[in-house]
Amino acid sequence: MTTTTAPTAASADAADSGKQLSLIDCDVHNAFSSPDEIARYLPKYFRQRGLSLPGRAGFSSPLGVARADAVPDEGGKPGSSIAKMREQLIDAYNMDYVILTGGGILSCGVHAEADYGAAVARAYNEWFAEKWLDADPRMLGSLLVAPNNPAEAVKEIRRIGGHERLVQVIMTSATRTALGDRFYWPIYEAACEMGMPVAVHPGAESTGIANTFAPGFPASYFEWHSNLSQNYMGQVSSLISRGVFCEFPQLKFVCIEGGIGWAPHLMWRLDKNWKSLRATTPWLTRPPSEYLVEHIRFTTQPIEEPEKKDHLLQILDMVHAEKTVMFSSDYPHWDNDCPVHGLPKLPEPLKQRIMWQNAAELYNLKPR
């Protein structure tokens, strides 16, 4: 690794203030309890149909999607109660910040009717602004866009992207065509203009126009969930090889919930092939793995749990986790990782990078 980025103002601040930050959670799901909560923000024409998102192929998780103990005391969907989220997550672990990533809504990005999908994203953002944006100084938001409608996504990013409590653009990791394609570049351009990273999150794979994984349709929730990483592998390969980070040198791209264990393989294979096939992608002036370390950020959950914990530490080393990996719990979903027991014991400097420093630098977060 030869790339070094100059420390940003945020990282210098964070370093100066030392221990004041200690835990940032980069994937927390704020849910709505009824579809009408979102539908009432749709423009009139679309409002008549309510919220109608592409559905899954019929297989479902026997556990449900949410943790069984996360139902709010007053009822409703897990993740829909600000009080319960504080009690079970933010206060329980004394978190400095949580990055809210929405819930049950990303599949607007694979809606076949791209204008409706974009309208849903916008309605969600309006709802978010009303219910969550100022709910708690520790909660930060993600600006939702539908990637299959780049023109509307760009408008939405320009409309509210400047809000200081919205820290990233978020969209589904399932796509009709890979994310390196120039089709999506206007989204990256607008995000860079607003100084925001772009994050992707699973959920809409095998629904709507993003029909399946590369080998074919999964037959169970188990197979579906286990295949999610494969999608991320393809997206990262596409982003790097098609020159997204050459065109947008400031762009940071956050791979939420896609796993980490596959990344060393991809880095090495890209580098090996690049040595031979460099002429096909002349815009890549450095080994592809360097672009990955500089531009891609991974979140921890669901952290791989190898038989020997040391193996995970080795993988973290291989992916330069001190720069690339950020803690996430995925609260309140069934596959969440506990901030205290979810990760194996990490060496202290690496622990600090993963638990808060990398996120503080990426999202420009300072102690409050």
């Binding site: 103990d69 996360a70 069934w334 979810g342």
Partner: protein
Amino acid sequence: MPQTTQRHTVCRASELPPGERKIVEINGRSIGVFNVHGNYHALRNICPHQMAPLCQGKVTGTTLPSKPNEYQWDREGEIVRCPWHGWEFDILTGKSVFNPHKLRVKTYKVTIEQDDAQARSGACPASESGEDPSVETFPVSVEDGLVVLHV
């Protein structure tokens, strides 16, 4: 070393009918007491995976090992699924379903015992308690006794 246990009354047996569970705190330890088809069992309320409150999970059955494409649902009511990641544990033994020999949760003994006070009042209310003999009393059987946890 022989372990000495203490008796802790959990509740009346009739308050914990089949299929129900009650989570109690004993000496700072959270323990789930389950009534599975009329028999009582107790498990430590901590999942060995990431320490979730295991006993808050769903009480359910599971699929028995089978050939591909066969599904044999059984053991209804005898399995608790961790509320977080869904690991299955046998309530009767505390053993995990996917690795019963290595991964388990601690179990405790539960007995049903006669409620002495009731037994006395049932047997001879006037002479032993000295209370008004007109007070209505009930015959006491062990089924209506106390659920006692040995920790």
